[in-house]
């Protein structure tokens, strides 16, 4: 092992362990995905350093490229905001889990520490015909059947993915008439037939978060999109109107009224 590799290892390994521990701590699933992408790229670099350049490139292409993208797609489907709940359904699960994890780490590290390994041979001889060629020779000479089986496994998995996410329509497709009748039937519960009013347009403000005014000048709460209302991000109409009123007053004070000017001239 050369000095350069040592520096690389001792730089990458602590960072990778921190990122992997981040998987335990981080609240949001997207942040966990970023952590694990870092670990995977670090592993790819270590593979290249360990005389396995082809595997390192495949690691980047397959894991960080395909698998993590799949994870992120599913996160988008499920909702990026979904944070973990902190309520424990099994009492003491956190401590039991941490204890078991620490125990597993102790056992694995103990086994590695106890085992005696032969002096490392290195892959210079095995990689003499370049790494991909050497890999292909082993794969296609000794593991042909395993490779075929794995190919079948992949096809089966792709098919399973299609079948599992296929959405079958449970009821009949509603017709336009049925939809219209359902809307009319909902009228007594306070729903309305017409589309919801658009958010308000003011002299200085035209945004989604400001309610429109009805003919009597009262703000229409339901003209603001529901998501903004739930998040509490809507602005009140009266606030805006007073602000605009103050502005109009200030302009009138700054500038004499045009009627007076005309009379003087």
């Amino acid at each position: 092992m050369s000095g350069g590799e040592e520096v690389l290892f001792w730089t990458l390994a602590p960072l990778m362990v921190i990122a992997a521990a981040g998987l335990l701590v981080v609240r949001r699933a997207v942040h966990a995905a970023v952590c694990i992408v870092f670990v995977m790229i670090g592993l790819a670099v270590l593979y290249v350093a360990q005389e396995a350049p082809f595997l390192g490139i495949v690691q980047v292409v397959v894991y960080t490229g395909a698998v993590m993208m799949l994870f992120l797609f599913v996160l988008m489907l499920v909702g990026v905001d979904a944070a973990d709940s902190l309520t424990e359904t099994i009492r003491g699960q956190r401590w039991i889990g941490l204890l078991l994890g620490a125990g597993l780490a102790a056992v694995l590290l103990g086994v590695v520490a106890q085992a005696t390994f032969p002096p490392s041979v290195g892959l210079v001889e095995a990689n003499a015909v370049t790494n991909p060629v050497a890999l292909a020779r082993v794969l296609l000479q000794h593991y042909v059947i395993a490779m075929e089986v794995v190919g079948i496994l992949l096809v089966t998995a792709a098919l399973a993915g299609l079948v599992l996410t296929h959405r079958r329509r449970l009821g009949k497709k509603p017709t336009q008439r049925a939809l219209a009748e359902a809307k009319v039937a909902l009228l007594p519960t306070g729903r309305q037939l017409t589309p919801l009013p658009a958010p308000g347009v003011y002299a200085q403000n035209n945004a989604m978060d400001t309610p429109a005014l009805d003919p009597q000048g009262r703000p229409l709460e339901h003209s603001v999109p529901r998501v903004l209302r739930i998040r509490g991000q809507q602005r009140s109409a009266s606030e805006l109107l007073t602000a605009e009123g103050l502005l109009v007053q200030r302009i009138q004070v700054d500038r004499p009224a045009p009627d007076q000017n005309e009379e003087e001239g």
Partner: protein
Amino acid sequence: MELVNYLYLASILFALGATTVLLRRNAIVVFMGVELMLNATNLALVTFARMHGDITGQVLAFFVMVVAAAEVVVGLAIIVTIFRARRSASVDDVNLLKS
């Protein structure tokens, strides 16, 4: 520095992945823990290949990768299906078989 250090790193990553599976409730994060465990195994396989001067370890790492890819496809499809039915990706909410 010995090559054993790579094995120590692989052990720590594996244990962290296992702890993630035990502790987290979001099914997707649990899956990431499984991926971390598979990756740690790959690192150990590559290290063994180098240690023994035999490239078979790297070939086995390829097989692990393929199996992991298949597992992710099926697992994520199941998570999406459960999410559609229950509007939740938490492993605690999936208790249909209870009672």
